[in-house]
């Protein structure tokens, strides 16, 4: 367990994400000055719920359900279809899937190598 907190209240039992890391991320946001300790716990808990929500939503709505796998495309799909997750659009290219992009990269590299010969 990560005991990075000066105080480690029992409430931490219901929180699995590292609170100190959440604090660091929050403070790296522009203009955010001071955060009340309880507010920090709340944000951490909310982030946990978000992970669960995102994972479940993506899995249930996605095609991965048949293969029992959660794929990148499932996440992309849920982000597109669920208005609450639209804020994720910037970090998630809708059309291009990571593995397709990597494939394209590989192909480009192969073509370059062939051209060099």
């Amino acid at each position: 367990e990560e005991e990075e907190e000066e105080e480690t209240p029992d409430a931490k039992k219901s929180i699995s994400l590292p609170v100190s890391r959440v604090r660091l991320i929050m403070k790296s946001s522009p203009d955010v000055s001071s955060i009340n300790q309880d507010a920090l716990f709340l944000t951490t808990k909310a982030t946990e719920l978000f992970v669960q929500h995102l994972a479940l939503s993506s899995f249930n709505n996605g095609s991965g359900k048949d293969s029992n796998t959660l794929e990148y495309s499932d996440l992309a799909k849920t982000t597109e279809e669920n208005e609450t997750f639209h804020f994720l659009t910037d970090i998630l290219p809708k059309k291009i899937l990571a593995r397709d992009y990597l494939k394209t990269l590989e192909q480009m590299q192969e073509e370059e190598e062939e051209a060099d010969l």
Binding site: A11, N36, L42, K45, F59, T84
Partner: protein
Amino acid sequence: MASSSGNDDDLTIPRAAINKMIKETLPNVRVANDARELVVNCCTEFIHLISSEANEICNKSDKKTISPEHVINALESLGFASYITEVKDVLQECKTVALKRRKASSRLENLGIPEEELLRQQQELFAKRTAVTSLKAPVRLAAASLFTPRNPRPAPNEQGNHVNDS
């Protein structure tokens, strides 16, 4: 894979913590590696989203510090109202724990001070105990259990065996 560059943008929740959560949420489900990576980044994005919104709400109020109330309002306005109940439970736990700790520390202080007072009370109890011996046996036993002193000392009629410490 931990980034040691001082760049704030590289700050993310540790992958292991995310993996564990995903596993608990979707047991027996395989998760693609790029999907895991994405969830990690989504978390960071979410935290920024909530902080910014809560910060704005905070600025509009008279307070300088982001409070739980601000966070809850932020969740509401961003469409995460469904999280609020569970999130509030954590708040309640925090308050309970803080209250317990405060009570515990004040209780300790109360115990520490009157050592002489405790001693005096103990003498009183012994006096009472002697008075109680005239009662019938079951009642006497019950009463004795109530008056058991915290630091057992030899009963008055054993004084002959008691060696005085220097």
